[in-house]
Amino acid sequence: MTKLLPIELTVNGSARSLDVAPHHTLLDVLRDELGLTGTKECCLVGECGACTVRLNGRIVDSCLVLAVEADGGEVATIEGLAPPGHLSRLQQSFLDEGAVQCGYCTPGQVLAADDLLRRNPRPTVAEIQEGLAGNLCRCACYEQITQAVLATSRAASDDL
């Protein structure tokens, strides 16, 4: 019997206390224990980015982080990007630009794009491609995804 370890996390602003198996990843726990299935499991080797979440202010592949490593940390998932029933401007841009086809990679793409815009509010196309290089899209919506990030960036700067 695997010994469970107690951890405490803040997930999308809510404090959570859990008992986790040492070999369960943050991805496993978000999906299976907390029911946050917006974070996707895909390659499990840190290449595709479908499991991207923000941990302590930085995006990571949650398939490569043990849940117990996140103890005491703050996690943000796609569910926390906007209030329930609403979309962030970035999410709306993904829809407007047709950047969502099958949608499986979209939560990870959106979190990586959100992270890029936080660090660099006016990215160039090259900077967008580099910022999202860790997120693969098998539907090959890369052009539309880039346009969605550019549109969000332009809309944000128009507000200033």
Binding site: T2, K3, L5, A21, P22, H23, H24, T25, L44, V45, G46, E47, G49, T52, R58, I59, V60, D61, C63, L64, V65, L66, V68, E69, A112, D115, L116, Q129, E130, G131, A133, G134, N135
Partner: protein, 286 residues
């Protein structure tokens, strides 16, 4: 993933004691970007994972003191790539850290982990070799400094002893003017492992330090004292002679899926020429 026990020691002596007691059954966990993959696919069968990220001596920190740049073992690639002091004194290392994996990987992968993993294709190893980096390790017998060139044994294997934990990587600050760069060849731009990875440092005395990886069981460091590599007007024959000598030990694996041996050997020379030009440009503009 197969189950294992997990410990998160609060002190360095506790970590050393755990690793010493469990020997080969224990593995150090830093960023996890290689280890978690290997635990999942079964190529690593550790029964105890020792997470060293909360040990005070290993916390992410870059500092300059005593003519050294010291990078704490917990420091991740993203922080090395963006650090002003690393960029000023060790641009080839900053460039290499910036191309490891993706943003997600660079936010997690540590430099010390890249070193201890000892992959022949590790992008940060050639820059660390040309800059004369040392690894600081604490073990049951105390603290010791190991020149990186002496640490790398072969693919996946270092000369670290039972119970030893790397606490920092140290780079001596360059004396005099140095022009340096890191270049690599990959199958695709963006997120890929290197088919060839190479770094060059040329100093104002005409000495060149060049290191290359992904063409043999470990990255190799070569030094050209003839001055031919550093001479922008060196005749082609002299340059070829230097390349022949520099790359004599390159042994690319015929089994790699990333690139064939002939291609890698040809690209070594192409990359060496590009890196030479970039390093010379930097030497004279510095």
């Amino acid at each position: 993933m197969r189950s294992f026990a997990y410990e998160r020691p609060a002190t360095l002596p506790d970590a050393v004691a755990l690793l010493d007691r469990h020997g080969a059954g224990a593995r150090v966990l830093a960023g996890g970007t290689d280890l978690i993959i290997r635990l999942r696919d079964g190529t690593c069968r550790a029964t105890l994972i020792v997470d060293v990220k909360r040990i005070p001596e290993l916390l992410p920190k870059i500092e300059v003191a005593d003519e050294l740049l010291r990078i704490g073992a917990g420091t991740v690639m993203a922080d090395i790539a963006s650090d002003v002091r690393v960029g000023r004194h060790f641009p080839a290392l900053a460039e290499a850290a910036a191309v490891v994996g993706s943003v997600q990987i660079r936010n997690r992968a540590t430099l010390a982990g890249n070193v201890c993993n000892a992959s022949p294709a590790a992008d940060t190893l050639p820059p660390l070799l040309i800059y004369g980096a040392s690894v600081v390790a604490m073990g049951p017998a105390g603290l010791r400094r190991i020149a990186l060139d002496d640490l790398l044994a072969r693919s996946g294997t270092t000369t670290l002893r039972r119970g030893e934990v790397v606490t920092a990587i140290e780079l001596p600050l360059p004396i005099g003017r140095v022009g340096a760069t890191h270049v690599r060849r990959t199958r695709r731009s963006g997120h890929d492992l290197a088919s060839v990875t190479l770094a060059v440092a040329i100093d104002d005395a005409g000495v060149t330090r060049l290191a290359y990886g992904s063409v043999g069981p470990r990255p190799l460091l070569v030094v050209d004292h003839t001055g031919a590599f550093a001479d922008p007007h060196a005749p082609e024959a002299a340059l070829q002679e230097v390349f022949d000598s520099m790359f004599a030990e390159a042994r690319p694996s015929p089994r790699s899926m990333r690139a064939g041996p002939e291609y890698r050997l040809a690209m070594l020379r192409v990359l060496a020429r590009r890196a030479r030009q970039a390093a010379l440009d930097r030497l004279w503009e510095s």
